[in-house]
């Protein structure tokens, strides 16, 4: 499940795992993220998401909270407990919008929480911010506001 597109500036494309069970949402997100220059990995449920994250070690994960088989909260918690995947930034993408849902998401280990419908400008800023913070070369030079 690997669809990749070279980003415009020729740098090595960042790989993003999209864990989303709704087919249309997944398709829409995939295309949109490809247009932003990312290489996309896909998972349709929680167990698959954990599997792909471990096997392919993406640079960032867009994680739906309402995944079947294993919820997004569980997936986030599991990945953050695992040394192999702990460093991968996770952005929760969820239609659960209550404050307590967001708190739960952040407590589970998500680095950011974006609600559906998605505000793409915000999401893309957040992605770049997290990727920049993670990249050793850019460490400490990050000034973006999220």
């Amino acid at each position: 499940m690997d669809t990749s597109t070279q980003s415009g500036d020729g740098a090595v494309p960042m790989r993003i795992l999209i864990a989303e069970d709704d087919a249309m949402n997944r398709d829409m997100l995939t295309r949109r993220m490809q247009w932003e220059g990312f290489t996309i990995l896909i998972a349709a449920d929680g167990i698959e998401a954990v599997h792909v994250a471990r096997a392919r070690r993406p640079d960032l994960i867009l994680l739906d909270m309402g995944l079947p088989r294993r919820s997004g909260w569980e997936v986030a918690a599991q990945l953050k407990q695992d040394d192999a995947t702990r460093d991968i930034p996770i952005i929760a993408l969820s239609a659960y919008v209550l404050p307590e849902d967001q708190v739960r998401g952040l407590e589970a280990g998500c680095d950011a929480y974006e609600v559906k419908p998605i505000e793409f400008d915000r999401l893309i800023r957040s992605i770049h911010h997290l990727l920049a913070a993670r990249s050793p070369g850019n460490a400490g030079s990050d000034t973006d506001n999220v």
Binding site: D21, D22, M24, N25, D27, M28, L29, R31, R32, W35, M65, G66, L67, P68, S71, G72, A95, Y96, V97, L98, V115, K116, P117, I118, F120
Partner: protein, 614 residues
């Protein structure tokens, strides 16, 4: 007036002085029960003794007769005062009312009147003479009829008084032996004196010993009062206290035989004292046999016991204390019981009220919990609805943005696919909004049925057409088994259609590469015609723990297991309500991993007045 004093007269006068002293002494203590009659007795005795002395000293008949008449003032009053004394001393003063006093003094008054008028009618003495016998001048007479009336009356009074005192002594003899002995001497003296005089055994056969004897009585009582003055009222007081107590008191000896019982206990047992005292406690308290058995060997106890059943039940506070004599030898038991039925009833009522209060409080807490749970469920439902609406909206807005950005960089087919996705998500959104609306109407109890007759096969065909695209998308096979002769049914066709759409839609939506079968049959159960719609799929099945919550919308939203699983949402809850509304039901059987079967059962003829469920 010719008088000659003799040593005997001097003795009588001395006794008369003592009698006066006793009268004075008693008068000073007249508030003590028995003191006032004792004082009166002293006065009467002194009159008797003085005038007897003067009678014996008289030298001629008129003088002697005068003193005899004075003497009789004392003689007739002594028996009546004796009764008065006995009654008061033994604690029965209330017995002496105005009428009884009048009756008591009637005979003495008549006697005095007759004595003073004897010369006219000679009813008392038929003849009187004066004889000299040794040192005495003796008044001699032959008695008339009234004398015997007087004599009998006097003896009756003495006897009555003696009876009261002896009875009192017997009752209190255990505790106050010295005083009782003196009282018995006082009672016995007049009888002894009289017996001596009448039997002729007296050394001075012409001398009436009665006044001497009464003088002894008087002095004995006076001495008793002097010596036991501290304790004198105690037996009376104790007896009165015991008798007037509202608590039942019973004394048993060491063999369990009743030796004393007070009035309250008699009332409670329902027998007079003389049928209780002297009998074993077990016989007396036969109706309480159980209680007796329980307490037979207990010498010390404080307990509450209930006797009788139902509204007649009485409650008693029972105290049993051992009685030891001064050498610490066990002599018996004291049983005191108090009727505490009122307190008990009040306490029971308090307890019941308390329980009711607690129950009411519990009910309130439960009602509050239910309300809170309802409120929480509603919030969870709204959160769920919000989540469900946001999912297709995310697609719609996402694709719109894709089109905005990429219309000129993507192919015509891609654009058309995006528009299809938008349309499909919008339809899904509309369906969700419809379902929320339906469930809200159902919850508000405002669902109307429009019952008409319709062909079942037409609806089946229609529903099959609607779900066909989903069947194809998930690569399923849909089988419809419906007898062409299945005929008509009478129900709300729109709701039947919705039920079948939900159930069949779920089956094809959650099954991939499988078989979904709809079997329609007409069956007779309990003399009623039913239309059965059986939807079977070969999908993943429903986890057992989710099955009980399938048909309750709020519970689904509130269920953490279900939460996070999209789709099933409200359709089953709505279907469940609609089935009930038309007098039918919907049931589910599922094997995890094998598939699920929903059975929708509806009456062929929907009853017109069906209670609205939900």
């Amino acid at each position: 007036m010719s008088l000659r004093f003799t040593p005997y007269a001097a003795t009588l006068i001395a006794l008369g002085v003592i009698a006066l002293a006793v009268a004075w002494y008693a008068w000073q203590r007249r508030t003590i029960p028995g003191a006032l009659p004792l004082s009166a007795l002293g006065m009467s005795m002194s009159v008797w003794l003085f005038s007897y002395a003067l009678e014996l000293s008289s030298l001629d008949l008129p003088v002697a007769l005068f003193w005899v008449r004075i003497e009789y003032l004392g003689i007739v009053s002594v028996p009546v005062i004796w009764v008065w004394f006995a009654v008061e001393y033994s604690g029965a003063a209330s017995w002496l009312d105005r009428r009884r006093i009048a009756l008591l003094v009637l005979v003495p008054l008549v006697t005095v009147a007759i004595i003073w008028t004897n010369d006219v009618h000679r009813l008392f003495w038929r003849s009187v003479t004066l004889e000299t016998d040794g040192p005495f001048t003796v008044f001699n007479s032959t008695y008339g009829a009234w004398f015997w009336v007087h004599a009998v009356y006097s003896y009756l009074c003495l006897l009555g008084g003696a009876y009261l005192l002896v009875q009192f002594v017997v009752r209190s003899s255990r505790l106050f032996r010295g005083q009782a002995g003196l009282l018995l001497i006082a009672v016995a003296a007049p009888w002894l004196g009289n017996a001596l005089y009448l039997s002729g055994l007296s050394p001075w056969d012409r001398l009436d010993l009665t006044p001497f004897a009464f003088a002894i009585t008087l002095m004995t009582i006076g001495w008793s009062m002097l010596h036991f003055s501290l304790f004198r009222i105690i037996p009376v007081a104790r007896d009165m206290a015991l008798q007037s107590m509202r608590d039942g008191v019973m004394v048993l000896d060491d063999r369990g035989v009743v030796v004393d019982v007070n009035r309250a206990a008699q009332g409670l047992i329902g027998r007079p004292g003389n049928r209780i005292i002297g009998r074993p406690a077990g016989d007396v308290l036969a109706p309480w046999a159980d209680t007796i058995r329980r307490y037979r060997d207990i010498t010390e106890l404080t307990d509450e016991i209930g006797i009788g059943e139902g509204p007649e039940q009485r409650w008693y506070d029972v105290r049993i204390s051992p009685i030891y004599d001064e050498r610490r030898v066990f002599r018996g038991r004291l049983i005191v019981w108090r009727d505490i039925s009122e307190q008990h009833r009040a306490r029971e009522e308090l307890r019941r009220n308390n329980e009711q209060l607690l129950a009411a409080q519990q009910a309130l807490v439960e009602a509050r919990d239910i309300a809170e749970a309802g409120s929480r469920a509603r919030s969870a439902f709204l959160a769920h609805v919000s989540h469900e609406l946001r999912t297709p909206l995310t697609s719609i807005l996402g694709y719109c943005q894709l089109l905005q950005i990429g219309l000129d960089r993507q192919s015509y087919d891609e654009t058309r696919a995006d528009l299809d996705a938008i349309r499909s998500s919008a339809s899904h959104l509309l369906e969700l909004i419809d379902n929320v609306l339906h469930i809200t109407i159902i919850e508000a109890g405002r669902t109307d049925l429009h019952v008409v007759s319709f062909a079942v096969e037409e609806i089946i065909h229609d529903v099959a057409c609607v779900v066909q695209p989903l069947v194809v998308r998930n690569r399923n096979t849909l089988r419809i088994e419906c007898d062409p002769a299945i005929g008509m049914m009478c129900a709300d066709p729109a709701k039947v259609r919705q039920i079948l759409l939900h159930v069949l839609g779920n089956a094809v939506k959650f099954t991939n590469d499988g078989i979904v079968t709809l079997v329609v049959t007409r069956e007779t159960i309990d003399n009623r015609q039913w239309m059965l719609f059986r939807v079977t799929d070969t999908g993943p099945g429903i986890p057992a723990e989710r099955v009980p919550h399938l048909f309750t919308p709020f519970a689904i939203a509130n269920d953490p297991i279900v939460r996070g699983n999209k789709g099933a949402g409200l359709g089953l809850a709505i279907s469940h309500h609609y089935c009930q509304l038309m007098g039918g039901d919907i049931t589910v059987a599922s094997v995890n991993g094998k598939g699920t079967t929903f059975v929708v059962r509806l009456p062929v003829n929907t009853p017109m007045a069906t209670p609205v469920a939900g």
